[in-house]
Each structure stands twice: as C-alpha cells, then as structure tokens.
Assembly symmetry: C2
Homo-oligomer: 426 residues x 2
C-alpha cells in the first residue's frame, strides 16, 4: 500500500472514533454536539499539521486554506462531518477526509511544481448538512451560498430550545471568515443506494438529483378524553396523521417500481398523553422521483387524500412548509471532467443520479462543481451498519485527487470566480 | 345562595387559578409540577383553616385529617388535583374541593352533635391520577392500596428523566404518614361523556367501569435513508405504527355504535429525523367497551392486524406491556346509598357506567365505596374548554355531603375497617 493510502486509512480510523456508538461500527455526531466539536478540534490539528490555515465562518463552516498562488481563488473540496442519530461512519465524513487527503497530496505536488497551480486549495467541513438536530439540512452551505439568511440559521432551535448560535458557541465554532473567492467545488460521498454495487461501478459520476416535493403538515384536531369521548365526537389529529403516513406508502404502488420514493421520517404528537386524543400532530412527508412528472402526479393524488382525511376525520390538515424541485442537473462539464479522470485511472465508472441532497447541490448553482460517488454495501445509509470497502474508499480518494488536481490546474475555470461566504451580520 | 355554597364557589375560583392557562378557562397542572406544588400548599392552608391536620404519605398523597371520635377509623373522601396538559379545570379538582367542603360542613354538624359521628373524616388529594407525566395513572391510590410498590413508583421517570422521587422532593410533598384505618371511601367527578346531560340526570350513581384492554406496542424496523433506500428494502417502524392507529379506528365500525371505543394517545418515534426511516416506535393503544365480550372479540381482530403488519411491512410488533379488565362493578350497597341520598335531596339521578378509571376504582376493592358523577357540558374532557354549570357543581356537593354524612354515621360500615397506607420503605 502506498504512503498516501496508508496515511488516509490511519486518519480515517481516528476520525471515525469521534461520537462512536459503543458496541457498533457507527457514530452519533449531530451538528454542534460535543462529539462534533471534538472532531473539529482534531481535524483542525490535522489540517494545520499539513500546513493549512484553519478558519471558520459565522455559521460554523470549517475551512482549511492553503495558499499556493498568492491572491488566487480557491478550489474548494469537502463535505460534512456531522451525522444523523445512530448513523454510519462514512456518509459525509468520508467526503471531508478524502477531500483533505486529496489536498495534502496535491499540496506536496504543487510545492514541487508551483508553475502548475493556477488556484489555491481549500478543504471544507460544512456545518449541519444532516438537519436532524437543526432544520433545514445543508444549513452551512445554504448560508455560505446566500440561500439562507445567517440570522435565520443562527436563531434556529433544536428540540430542547437550544439555538444554533448557542450550540456553536458551546463548541467554540463560530468564526469570522467573511468571504472567499471560489473557482470551483468538488465533493465525494458514498452512494446512498445500491445501484453502483449491483452494476459493478466504482466511481459514480453524479449528473443530477432526483426531483422532490417535501411537506411539513400540521394536523389539527381537538383534545378529548381518549376513553370516554364518543367516537363520532372525536377529531383525532393522530388518526389524521396516521392516514397520511399509510397513504404515502400506498402511493408508491401506483407508479412503476422505483419511480417514486415516499417517506415520513418525523412525527410529533401533542399532548402525547396516554388518555388524551391528540389535538395537534406535525408530520414531515417527502415525495422523491427521478421524474418531475411523477412528482406532480403523486402530489395531486396526495392532495386528494388530504381532502378525504379532512372530510372523513374532521381534522384540519395544513401545509405549514413545502419545498419542491424538479430533476436538477449537475453541470455537464464537471461530469465529463470526472469521466476523464476515472478513465485515466482505469476505474469503472458510470453516470448516476443522487436521490439525496448534498452540499454540492448548493455549490453547483454558484461555481463549476464535480460530484463523485463510491459504492456502499447494500446501499445501507443513515444506519450504524453503513459500510464501504477500503478498496472503494481509496479508489474514490484517487479519483477525487485527480479531479481536484485538474481543477487547481485550471479545468472548468470560470471567467469570473464567485465571491462567496457568510457575511457576518452587523 | 347559602353560606356553604358561596364558600365553595369562592374557594373553587381560587383553586382554579393554579396552573391556569393564559387566555383560557383551563389549567395545566401535571403531577408534581410547580403548579401542582403551589396548589397543594394553598390547599394545606385551607384545610388547616378549617381545623384539619394535613399530612402526606411517601408517594405524595395529601390528607386532611379531622378526628371527631378519638381512635376511630376514617371516612375518606376526595379525588386528585393534578391535570393533563392543557386540560379542563374541573376533572379531579372538583372532587377534591367538594370533598373538602363536604367535610367542612359535616365537621360543623358533628361538632354540634358529636353523638352522631361514628367515624372520623379525611379529605384526600391523590398523587398523579392522570399519568400524563409519570406512568401509570392512578399512581398515588395504587401505592396506597398496595397495588403498586412504593419504590417502583418513586423510581418512575418522566420524559426528561426526572424521577417521581425527585419531582416530589422539589415541591416538598413526600411525607411520612404511614397508614390509616379506613372505614369507607367516597368520590365525585364530572362525567367524561354526555349521557347524563342528554338524559337530564344531575347525579350519576356510578355502578361499574367499562371493560378495557390497554397495550403498549413497540414496533421495530430498521434505520435507513428515507430518500435513497429502495422502497422494498425498507422496514419502516412508523408505517407499521400508523397502520395500527388506523386499524384501531376502523375496528370501531365492526361493532354496534357505542360498543367499542379505541384510542392511540401516545406515539414516540426514533430517531424522528427528517431523512431517516424510523427504526423504533412505541405506541399506546386502548380498547374500551361496556362489554367484556366485545373487548375479547376486538382483541382477536387487532391481533390479526398486528400479524398482517408484521408480514406485509417487515417490521416486528411486540406488546411490551398490556393490562386488561372486564366490566368492573362498584359495590351495590354504595350505589343504593347514593340513590337514597339523591332521592332525599330530590335530585334527578340514574345509574351510570364510567368509561374512565378513577382513584375510586382502586379504593372500591378495599373498602365500601361510593362514586358520584355530575354532568359535563357536551361531555368535553381533557380539554381547556371542559365546563360544568355551578348549579350542577353545587348539587353534586350537596349529594356528596349527604353520602359522607351517612358514611360517617356508620352506613356501609364494615366489620373490620381496612388498614391502608403507603408503607415507607426501609
């Protein structure tokens, strides 16, 4: 095994210890938790040890900056180290660690051949990609790209009423990096699905995200004694919500296999007491499809069910937030660049859609962006048993290094690099 | 209005201020909350002002004792002052306050005619009847009657991990009253249903509780990415739970109207994150009926649904706790005593079943017990808008006073009064 690979696997093993869940191979490292904070401090030391300058911005995005070409824009590479509760150790952490190691190797190369570097290198660990503790997901990259106001993000509270501002201060991760000039962005992630494993593909060239429609429903009924109240007198918010959960699953069978994914991940009941009919339930419900037409069709059918629930169960069903997007392409030039690199390295590769969102989804709207996948065994994701073989981790590192090398040498260079960053509010 | 009624309504108005929910007529006074503690301190003063000695036992049951006949057993009368979240101000609080005022009036009578009293008087405010913060419900009377071990109760924790022991200590309501001799028990409550209002009945003579079967289900699936995981690969615990919630409601329509009440009041999801398929859901599900046969039939049908959910949704469904009882009669002699009193007072009255459990359900297994109801407008219960007219409150007070008078004079007197109480653990 070469030195780069060995060094990566060693650091990767250490990195996976932060928030490790006892008796499992997984981690729990929700955004701005103690484990997230400890890992960030360790990561800072790792970056500094390789000559990078570490800075944070006001929403806690952590950057390792290496200036090779004074004053030039940066090629940014990374992902996120935060995790879902009781989750796998790969997910975003693999992207940050391979981004860092790609830059470590390239820093060495460019120090020996400074004439080849056109741009500087920056590693990023985005804040709160997962959105499990603080909503919405992809918070750090959304603020960085100006899609979410800084103050709105900082004021967001978790289930215990702790704000992002307070939580970041507790781990001392709010900083003052104001803005940086970004030439391009690259990210690698384990696939959250099993198509690549099934098709024998080592490097996924991500060319689009699935279309989606996400809802936050509020179902309102009326508190009542859950034993004594006559059944026709009840307006049961939990019953209304349960009908939507079941309807979401049944919707899937109305389309071709694989064309619609639906889910209800979060449901909260008030007052959630043994002998009280619930007066209010909030429910997150997602529709996802590779086809925007399927999403629109599923939306119509879901709204018909909502109307039926309103009528039959006497509850009010309100959409308190919704968010939708059509199939959303990654820039073709980035896909082609990734293909060239994979071909040069003789790694099997194919174009692949991503169902899940990534920080690159935000970045691709601002700068030339490349998104890569490596396979995940059985596609297991957001689960303690998530696993990717070392060979695939190292192949991904190699491909990412090749992509970042080309980007730093000037590939995909825009005429005017974007000036991005988290402006500190006055 | 006579002095007794005026005094009751004045004290009742003060009592309803503890835990009052702003902008409503309701209260939130969960067991051992600050509001519960403040009301108990006020109630202590009220009892002492009428010459009662106030003591607590080790599970926080609050007693006001009045010795009229040195060394004689007590007639116990009361209910509970704790409430559900955002609940009505009547519920158990009416029973405690009318119990106290019945005893205040009788204390006066018996002081003037000491020869009439055969037993002493005690008012009780049972701890945690509601079971919303700490399970199970009827905790105080269950410990007092030896049905629930004291240490098990004290070690019970709420959703924040606070134990009953800690919560009671915070409001300084754990005491050392060891045991008392109880001759009989009386309780009054607002009806949690609308049959009395519809039938024009002022005093309900409670002659039995409905049969019931209560379940705590644990539904186990597997954590997965809620967007990317292929639908056939999912084992969604929330979907399994939702199917049971819907099935519980649909079960009702398989029986004659009014013969089956079902409910799911509490449902907790793990990890309850926007993009994670739930791995575990706990769900409380109740079946209630005036008929034990209906319960048994509904149980079979529910188990068939559970099996279907296991098969079709790939989740495990486990019953982690269950508790059932058949139609459970109150002693006929107590019903007859209550009928006599209501007839003497020319108050309309009728026998009535209770769907909900009450502390009297525990007490009736130990001592002669009388349970009365007054009507509740539209049967609204466990809701901020719960309401009972003053006339009905006062009629109930009059009937309860009549019942307690007869009990104290020796009616229903058992040969050997029960020695009951919360033994302090060594």
């Amino acid at each position: 095994m070469n030195e780069i690979n060995e060094s990566f696997l060693t650091d990767w093993a250490v990195s996976s210890k932060f928030g490790a869940v006892k008796g499992t191979n997984g981690v729990e490292r929700q955004a701005a938790s103690a484990a997230d904070g400890e890992q960030r401090k360790w990561f800072e030391g790792l970056l500094e040890g390789h000559g990078f300058t570490v800075k944070r911005d006001a929403i806690g995005n952590q950057f390792g900056l290496l200036e090779l070409v004074p004053g030039a824009p940066f090629v940014l590479v990374g992902s996120h180290m935060d995790s879902q509760p009781t989750a796998g150790r790969f997910d975003g952490a693999y992207g940050v660690m391979s981004g860092a190691h790609a830059c470590f190797a390239l820093a060495e190369e460019f120090r020996n051949h400074p004439e080849r570097a056109r741009f500087n290198l920056a590693v990023v660990n985005w804040f709160n990609e997962e959105g499990s503790r603080f909503k919405p997901s992809m918070m750090g990259s959304s603020v960085f790209t100006g899609k979410l106001p800084l103050d709105v993000a900082l004021d967001t509270v978790d289930g215990q009423g702790v704000s992002v501002r307070e939580a970041l201060d507790l781990i001392d991760e709010r900083g003052d990096l104001d803005r940086i000039e970004v030439a391009s962005y690259a990210e690698i992630h384990v696939q959250q699905g099993r198509s690549m494993e099934e098709d024998g593909v080592t490097i996924g060239l991500v060319n689009a995200t699935w279309a989606a429609h996400k809802f936050e429903f509020k179902i309102t009924g009326e508190q009542a004694h859950s034993g004594a109240t006559a059944m026709p007198d009840r307006r049961d918010a939990l019953l209304g919500a349960a009908r939507l959960v079941v309807a979401a699953r049944e919707l899937v069978d109305e389309f071709e296999p694989g064309m619609l994914h639906t889910a209800c991940g979060e449901l909260n009941v008030y007052p959630n007491s043994p002998v009280v009919v619930a007066s209010e339930v909030t429910l997150l419900l997602d529709l996802r499809s590779p086809s925007g037409d399927v999403i629109r069709d599923a939306y119509e059918k879901l709204m018909a069910t909502v109307e039926k629930v309103r009528q039959n169960d006497g509850v009010d069903v309100e959409i308190i937030a919704e968010h939708s997007w059509d199939q959303n392409p990654y820039p073709e030039a980035g896909v082609e660049l990734a293909r060239e690199v994979a071909a040069e390295l003789s790694l099997t590769h194919d174009r692949v859609l991503t169902v899940a969102g990534h920080d690159s989804t935000n970045m691709k709207d601002e700068v030339p962006t490349v998104m890569l996948f490596v396979p995940s065994v059985n596609g297991v994701s957001h689960n303690l048993d998530e696993f990717t073989h070392d060979d695939d981790l190292l192949a991904g590192l190699q491909a990412l290094t090749g992509v970042v090398r080309k980007l730093a040498e000037g590939a995909l260079a825009p005429e005017n690099p974007a000036v991005l960053g988290t402006r500190v509010s006055s």
